[in-house]
Symmetry: C2
Subunit: 736 residues, 2 copies
Amino acid sequence: MDIGALLTSAGINIALCILLFSLYSILRKQPSNRVVYFGRRLASVRIRNNDFFSIDRFVPSPSWIWKAWETTEEEILAIGGLDALAFQRMLTFGIRIFSIAAIICLVLVLPMNYYGKEMQHKHIPSESLDVFTIGNVKEGSRWLWAHCLALYVISCASCLLLYFEYKSITQMRLAHITRSHLDPSHFTILVRSIPWSPGGSYSDTVRNFFTNYYASSYLSHQMVYRRGIIQKLMVDAEKMCKMLIPVPSDRPNLQPCCFCARNTNSFKMLSSEPDSIKDDISFSDLTVVSRDDEVPAAFVFFKTRYSAVVATQMLQSSNPMLWVTEMAPEPHDVLWSNLSIPYKQLWLRRIATLLAAIVFMFLFLIPVTFVQGLTQLDKLSRTFPFLRGILKKAFISLVVTGYLPSVILMLFLYTVPPMMMFFSSAEGHVSRSERKRSAGLKILYFTIWNVFFVNVFSGSVISQLNVFSSVRDIPMELAKVIPTQASFFMTYVLTSGWASLACELMQLFPLGCNVIKKFILRIEEDSSDDLMTFPYHTEVPRVLLFALIGFTCAIMAPLILPFLLVYFFMAFLVYRNQILNVYIPKYEGGGRFWPMVHNTTIFSLVLSQIIAIGVFGIKQSPIASSFTFPLVICTLLFNEYCRQRFSPVFNKDAVQVLVEMDRRDELSGRMNEIYQQLHSAYCQFPVSNHEFCQSVQAHGSVNIEDPGPMDPQGNTRGKESSEVSEPWAVVNFGRE
Amino acid sequence: MDIGALLTSAGINIALCILLFSLYSILRKQPSNRVVYFGRRLASVRIRNNDFFSIDRFVPSPSWIWKAWETTEEEILAIGGLDALAFQRMLTFGIRIFSIAAIICLVLVLPMNYYGKEMQHKHIPSESLDVFTIGNVKEGSRWLWAHCLALYVISCASCLLLYFEYKSITQMRLAHITRSHLDPSHFTILVRSIPWSPGGSYSDTVRNFFTNYYASSYLSHQMVYRRGIIQKLMVDAEKMCKMLIPVPSDRPNLQPCCFCARNTNSFKMLSSEPDSIKDDISFSDLTVVSRDDEVPAAFVFFKTRYSAVVATQMLQSSNPMLWVTEMAPEPHDVLWSNLSIPYKQLWLRRIATLLAAIVFMFLFLIPVTFVQGLTQLDKLSRTFPFLRGILKKAFISLVVTGYLPSVILMLFLYTVPPMMMFFSSAEGHVSRSERKRSAGLKILYFTIWNVFFVNVFSGSVISQLNVFSSVRDIPMELAKVIPTQASFFMTYVLTSGWASLACELMQLFPLGCNVIKKFILRIEEDSSDDLMTFPYHTEVPRVLLFALIGFTCAIMAPLILPFLLVYFFMAFLVYRNQILNVYIPKYEGGGRFWPMVHNTTIFSLVLSQIIAIGVFGIKQSPIASSFTFPLVICTLLFNEYCRQRFSPVFNKDAVQVLVEMDRRDELSGRMNEIYQQLHSAYCQFPVSNHEFCQSVQAHGSVNIEDPGPMDPQGNTRGKESSEVSEPWAVVNFGRE
C-alpha cells in the first residue's frame, strides 16, 4: 500500500462519514424517529406533536456538533451520571495523549524512519507505507535513540495523565457518593445463603439474626420471592396496563410495588383516569405469595450507611458459605432473576462461564482463519475447484478479497456482545451494572485477543497457530510483525473505527426497528421499553482497542496517529451527542469501570514498550533496548502505586465519608424520610394491589418503625402529586 | 541401582538412625545438655540440681519414643498451641494417605510394573530398580488401567482426608479463638500511616480520629516510638539485670513495661531480693520519650472484640494510604523494629523482596549445576587438568562423586532459611508469626523449584537449561524424567529425609554451642535466650517436599512408598518429642499455615495427575490419559470449594463468634479485668521505671477509664503474688 492509496481510502471514508453525519442530521429532524434519536429526552419531557411539514426538515445541519461541543462536564454529569463522565474522560485522555504522541512522532520519529536507509526516494504519494515505519531504519542505526526518546516521552506523559485522571475520577466518585444522600442502596445490604431453620420461615431467621447481632442498627428487611407463574402474569398485566396509559417518568423502569405500599408512584396516572381500566384489571385472585415462595436471600435495611457497610465487610458466620453479605445494588439495578440462584452454585457458575468464555474465544479463531484464507484467492480456488470460474472475474475477486473478509468478521463480531452478556448473566451477578462490567471485561479480553493478537499473528503466519508454544519468543515475534501490520491497523482505524462511530450515531438497528414498526406494523405510539442504557460493555472495549493500537504503533508507524486523533475527536463529539439525546441512565455505576480503563492503558503501554525492546533488539541496538527496560519496570511500579492509592475507593466506601453523611442527615432530620423510602425502593413485583400488600404485611416481612400516613390505595399522595406537578418542558425536537 | 544396593543403603541409614537415636537418648540424660533438649520444660518448671553420677545416664533407652507416642492431641494443643497440633495433623495426614497409597500401589501397581514386559527376570535382589517402575510396562499395555485406578484411589482418598482435616482444623481454630478469651490482641488494632497534623502530635491525631468516628467503642491507644539509642541502653541494662536474677516465666519474653504501669510482672524477683541491685541500675536519667520520637503508628484498644474487627475491616479514609488498620498481632509476636517502617514503603519493599527472592532462587542454580558437574569426573578432569592425578585414586573419586555433591548442596541449602527470613524481615511484616509464615512460603517455593524440578531436569539433561522455553512440553518432559529419577528420590528420602530427622532430634547446632559454652567458655548458667520457637518455616516445607515426592512417584515407582511411610512415622515421633521438650510457644499462630499445606498438597496431587497423563500418553494409552483428565478438573474444583468454604475463617473472625464472646465476658464481668491488661500488654520498651511512666502518662497517650489501684513502684501487687504462688513443679529431667 502506498501513500496515495491510503489517502484515497481516507478520502472515501471521510466522504462516507460526512454523508452519514448529514443523513443523521436530517433523520433526527423527522418526528417519527424521535424515539430513536431522542430517547433520553422523550423519557424526561413531554412531547409537543409537531408533525407539520417544512423544508427545514430535509436540510442537513451541523447544529448537533455545536451542541455536543458546548456541553460542559457538569451537564454531562447531571444528564448521564458519573459513568458517562468517566467515559468522556477516557476519550479526552485519548485526545490528549495521542496529540502529544502525534507531535513528537511526526516531528521526531517520522523523518528518522523516512531517511533511515540510504535509498532513492520516490515522489511521496507513490511511496510505500513501509518507508514510514521503523522497518525502514537500518540496523545498528544511531537514530533509534529518537524512537527511544519518543517512547519515554509518550510513556511519561501517559502515566502523568493517567495519574491525574485517576485522581480526579476518584474525587468525583467521592463527591458523587456524598451528593447522592437519598440513595436507598447506601442503607441496604443484600444477604444471601440464609440458613434454613425447620421451625420458621427465612424471614423469621433473618429477623432473629439481625436483631441478635446488629440490634442497634437493624431497621427491617425485605425477602426475595421465587418468581412463579402468578407473578409473571402480574407483570404481564402491568405491561398491558402500561401500554394503555404510558407513564412519563425520569427513570422509566421505576415502578415501586405494593409489597410495602408506601409512596408508590406506578399507576399514578390511573387515578386521574376514568375507573374503567382499573376495573378491567383485578389482581385480587393473584395475590399468593406464601412462605414456600421465599428464596434464601433478602434485602436488609439499616439505620445508618455506616452500619450497612460494616455488615457487608464482616464475616457473619463461622461457616463462610452462610449469611453472605454484600452492598445492595441500586433499586433499578437489581437483577431479580439472579437473586434466586443458590449462593453455593455461584463459584461453580463463575468457573464454568470462565471456561466457556475461553472456549468461545478460541472457537472464534475458526472464522478468523477462514476470513484470512479468503484473501488468498488461489488457495481458495484450489480448495473449491467449482468456484474457479466465478473467482476469475475481476469484480467478484475484488469483492471476495476486499470486502467479504471484513463483512464476515464484522458479522461474527456482532455475536460477541450478546454472547458475553449471556455468559455474565449465567455467572449470577445480582446487578445489571455488575453484569455489564463483567461482560465488558470479557469483551475487552476477547477484542484484544481476537482483533489484535490473532490478526497480528495470522496476518503474517496464517498456518503457524503454534506460534504461542514458546512464550519467550512472543516479544520478538510481535516486534517482527507489528511494523509490517501497520497498514492493516491504519485501514482498521479508518474503516472499523470511523464507520463504527457513524453507525453509533445513526443507530441503525433501532432505526430499522422503528421504520418497521411505524411504516409496516403501523404502530404509532412510542413505548418507553425501547429506551436503552449506554452500552459501556461494548463501547469501552472498542475505544480501548484503538488506544492499544495507537500505543503499539505510535513509534513503529507514526502515520497512524493523525487518523487515530480524528477517531478520538469524532468519538468525543458522537458519544457526547448520544449521552445527551439517546441513552437514559437507568442506574448509576459510579465510574466503577475506570480501574479497567486504567489497567488496560497500562497494559497497552507495557506491551508497546516490550515490542520496542524487541524491535531495538532486531535492529541491533542493544543499548536502546536495555534503556527501555527500566521504563517497563517504572510503568509497572506506577501501576502498582495507583492500585494502592486509588483502587480501594472503587471497592469500599470510607468510614470518614459515611459517618459524615449520616451525621449530616441526622442533624437535618432527613433520616425518617429516607427510612420510609427504603422499603418501597426494593420491590420485586411491580404491581399495585392493596390486598396483595396486606397479605404480605400480615406475612410479617415488613416492620418499619414509622409507617407514615397512607391512603386507602396504599399510596402516599403527597409524594405522587409532587412528581405530577413537575413542570413538563415542551421542547421542539430536532429544531435547535 | 539394583534392589540389593537399595536395601544396603536402607540398612546403613537405619543403622545410622538407630545409632543417632541411641546417642540422643544418652545425651538427653546429661544435666549439662538440659538447656538443649528440655528447653520448653526449663522455661516452665524449676530445676533440681541432680548432677550426681549414675550408670543409668550412659545406657540408651527408648523411653522418649513411648512418651511421644502416648501424648494425646489435647496435650499437644495445651503445650505447643494450635500450630503444633496442625503440624502433627499434617504428619498424620501423610501417614494415612501414604499407607493407603502403599497398600494399593504395592498390591496392584508393583506387580503390573514388574511383569509389564515379557522378559527374563533375574533373582530379585540383583534386579534393577527400573524394573519396578512404570518404565517397565510395555507401550499400549492394558495394565495401565491399574495405574489409572490407583491414581483415582489416591486422589479421592487425599481429597477426602484433606477435606476432613481442613474442617477439623477450622473447628479447632474457632474453638481456640473462643477459648482464648483473655487475649489482648482481640481488642487491639494496629493503625499505621497516621497523617501528620501540624498542630499536635500523632497521639492527639489518633485520639481525635477515633473519638470522632468510633466514639462508642474506642478505649485508648498506645503510640509506637522510634527506637533510639537511649532505649537501646535501657534494654541492655534490662538484659544485664536479667542475667543477674533470672525470672522463670511461662512465656519468657513477656516483660510488660511501665508505659502503663499496671500489673507489671517483670523485675518481680527484684522486690524479694536485697535492694542492692536495684540501686545499681537507675534509669532516672534515661527517661526521654518526646513527641518527636513518635512514629505514625499506634495500637488502638477497643471496648469489644467486635468493634476492633469492624475497625480493621473498614476503609477509614478516602485516601486508602492513610489510616491503614489491621488486627494487632499478639503482644509477644510484635516485631517492633518493623513498626517504624513508613507504610508507603511497604508495597515497594514487597515487590523488591519478591524480585530478590526470585533472583536468589535462580542464582542457586549455579551451585546445583556445579554439583551435578562433580558427578561426571571425566568432564571435571578435562576442565581442571591439574586435578587429573588426584581424581584417578579410587577413594578420592568415590568421595568426590558420592559424598561431595550432597555435602555441597546441603551446605548451600543451609543458607536458604536465614536468607528467606532476611527477605521476609525486609518485607516489613509487623509480627514474628507473619514473618515466619512468609519465609515458610518462600522456602516452600524455593524447595519445590530447586530440589524437585531442577534436580529432576538437570539429572537427565544437565546442559539443557532452556528446557523451560516451551511451556507445553513440560508435562511430557516430566513424564519422561520422573520414572527414571525414582532411584534418586528414593535415596533422597533415605538420606536427606531420615538424616534430617536424626539431626532435628540431636539438635546439633545448639548442642555444639552448648558444649562450647559449658566446656570451653565455662559458663554454667543456662540463659532463657537460648530457647527457640518451633521452626515451622523450615520444617513445613521439608515435610511438604517429601509429600510432593511421594505423590508424584507413587504410581510411577511404588517402591518409594515404604521408605516414605517410615519417614512420616519417624517424623511423627520426633517432632512430637521436640514439641514436648524443646521448643517453646512464644506466640500462637492459630494454625494459619494450614491453607498453605492444603494448597501445596493439591498442587502435588495435580502435578502427579498431569505427569500421569504425560506417562499414559508416552505409553500410548490415550484412553487412560483422557480418563485422568477429569480427575485434574475435579481436584481443582475441590480445591476451589475448600477455598470458598474454609479459608475465609483463617483470614477473618466471624461476627457470631466475636459477639458471643463479648457478651459472655460482659455478663461475667471480666471486661474490666481485660481492659486493665490491655495497655501493659503492648509495651515497646521492657523497662520498669516509675518516673518514665509518669512522664509518658503526662504526655497523654494513656487514658484508660479505670486505672485501678497502684503501688509506688507502679505494680499491682495482687497479680504478682498470684503468679509467684504458682506451684513450681520439681522434675527430674531425662529420668522418665
